[in-house]
Amino acid sequence: MIERTPVLDFVTHALLIVSLVALLIPFWIIFVAASHDFHTVNQVPMPLMPGGHFFENMATAWERGNFDRVMLNSIIVAGGVTIGKIVIAALSAFSIVYFRYRLRMVMFWLIFITLMLPLEVRIVPTYAVAADALRPFKAIFELFGISVGLPEWNLLNSYSGLILPLIATATGTFLYRQFFLTVPDELTEAAKMDGSGPVRFFLEVLMPLSKTNMAALATIMFVWSWNQYLWPLLVVTDQQNFATATMQLQKIVPGPVFGEPPIWNVAMAANLIVLTPPVLVTIFLQRWFVRGLISTEK
């Protein structure tokens, strides 16, 4: 709907600007706090203009947080989760949309219901499985009275332990399903007539067509997995080698030692470091992101 109403225009713009400012203020405060020395940042009120210690604080934070290693871990984990989610979601949606089998809709609804069961709800059983990935199978065998000497497969303190339990995604499956449903049946049939089997059709027709979809999913999922805190904290006890960036923040913000003011300037600098990658990913992918969510390419 297009209208020419100057008053409404003004109100909408004002609203947008106010929201934008409200959204940006916290980031400004982080940046300002990260640019002052220890004493200035603890003054009341804190100055609202940036100071001159930004790079110094960043360097301290980088070193103290062991970010060399930790950023790499986070990138591996977030990247792995993102790729895993895209692959799993595409495959499960492909199966649900393009194949007719018994319990197909049951499967779909089972996947859909897990939307309501985030990791935090099922964290204890998930941890149990991560501690020994073959344990569910052992339980099933025991149920039937079979004793099979399955080895213990421990995922704690490893990249796979950080990644695998996170890659199932109902949101992604749903997003792909909706996209696949918009792909005309005739295209599938044309591929069949051309002699393409399901795998080839999936790889050479469906995947290229869902590029925007993938970008949208990648953006959401990268940011989501980058921000994961609880799960890494549980699975990783070997913090030297497997800590992720978000976990590391709690170490830089010092605990309340009596009489000691917290070192906010370094903590805020660390914050800036940690929030940069997801921001970059969003900026680079946002054009695709919007397209993937609102429409399908014709």
């Binding site: 005739e186 049939e189 044309a190 069949k192 007539m193 051309d194 393409s196 080839r200 067509l209 014709k298």
Partner: protein, 373 residues
């Protein structure tokens, strides 16, 4: 080459049967048009031949081999879809060559064959474009190229021209006919457009409600419709169909208002007393004088002629007149119909009645089809 045989082919969705026992023999190299209104099962039939739809019962055989259980790619058919169904992310060249790539042909040979097909279809300048950058007609040609390149035994067209504008449709029709002459592949062409059917087909299969009404050459279907459905469906306008009572002693059909249509007793010797349906072409009416009288309602202008819509014996009738005829609505007019132009159908079943075929009669009826916009 490949002949296609359908034996009592049926299709049901759940309990709902949509194709009822179709039998059809298509000779190798023949171009068959399956004609019918939307929802008559013609596309379903085609898709069963293609292998895109399972066959509930009956057999489909291509080149003597029953293909019921074969995958589409194993049947040796190529298909052109109504909405073209081009791969939007591939260039024209890749679209055309995709089936060869799947078949695992070496790249050099693929390029050569794509270029050859593109040249015959006039697509050489567009090979690098994406489908979205092409016009409707060009897309249609790409879709045809994609079918052609496989050099299939059987071509299947599913209403390929219905998305094109009128001019382009005529041009593509000619191209399809030429292509058929050059390749000589057995072709099934589904359409709801009778002009398309008449101009393209070696034989037409008229379908209605999941069954075949008539199979015949275009002139047979036009000149000797087997059922009132075909009579009314083919030709524009269709046959005038009038309910009346047969009087074989006098050789006339009496309409409810007492007017009498004379028919050829030699051609229809076995008419009984009682209800019958008489049919005649709008073009067979001699307008202006005669024993019959009808009421004029309104006229349709065709340019070189007019179609007068009227009511004759209380039933709707259309008359084709070449002369200027200025009539007021509600005014009566006189006309006659040659007894040889009257065709008779059973009043209950709608089937054509038994007749003695005079060879001259069918030749006379093979009139050119009136093409209207």
């Amino acid at each position: 080459m490949a002949e296609i045989t359908l034996r009592d082919v049926r299709k049901s969705y759940a309990k709902n049967e949509v194709v009822h026992g179709v039998n059809l023999d298509v000779a190798s190299g023949e171009l068959i048009v399956i004609l019918g209104p939307s929802g008559c099962g013609k596309s379903t039939l085609l898709r069963m031949v293609a292998g895109l739809e399972s066959i509930t019962s009956g057999d489909v055989a291509i080149a003597g081999r029953v293909v019921n259980r074969l995958e589409p790619r194993e049947r040796g058919c190529a298909m052109v879809f109504q909405n073209y169904a081009l791969y939007p992310h591939m260039s024209v060249a890749k679209n055309i060559g995709y089936s060869l790539k799947i078949a695992g042909l070496p790249k050099a040979e693929r390029i050569e064959r794509v270029n050859k097909v593109a040249a015959t279809l006039g697509l050489t300048d567009f090979l690098e474009r994406k489908p979205a950058q092409l016009s409707g007609g060009q897309r249609q040609r790409v879709a045809m190229g994609r079918a052609m390149i496989r050099e299939p035994k059987v071509f299947l067209y599913d209403e390929p021209l219905s998305n094109l504008d009128a001019t382009l449709r005529v041009a593509m029709r000619v191209e399809i006919r030429k292509l058929h002459q050059r390749l000589g592949a057995t072709t099934l062409f589904v359409t709801h457009d009778q002009v398309e059917a008449m101009t393209l087909a070696d034989r037409i299969v008229v379908m209605n409600k999941g069954g075949i009404e008539q199979i015949g050459t275009p002139s047979e279907v036009y000149g000797r419709p087997e059922t009132t459905y075909v009579a009314n469906f083919i030709g524009s306008p269709g046959l005038n169909l009038l309910k009346g009572a047969g009087h074989p002693d006098e050789g006339v059909i009496k309409l409810p208002d007492g007017q009498q249509l004379a028919y050829d007793r030699n051609q229809w010797p076995e008419i009984g007393h009682g209800p019958v349906i008489a049919g005649f072409r709008a073009e067979a009416v001699k307008f202006g004088s005669g024993p019959l009288s009808a009421r004029f309602d309104f006229a349709e202008e065709l340019g070189i002629a007019k179609l007068l819509h009227g009511s004759f014996g209380g039933q709707a009738m259309i008359v084709h007149v070449a002369t200027r005829a200025d009539l007021q609505s509600g005014q009566p007019f006189l006309f006659s119909v040659d007894p040889g132009d009257i065709q008779l159908f059973d009043a209950d079943s709608g089937r054509r009645l038994e007749e003695v075929r005079a060879p001259a009669a069918s030749a006379k009826q093979a009139m050119p089809l009136q093409i209207t916009a």
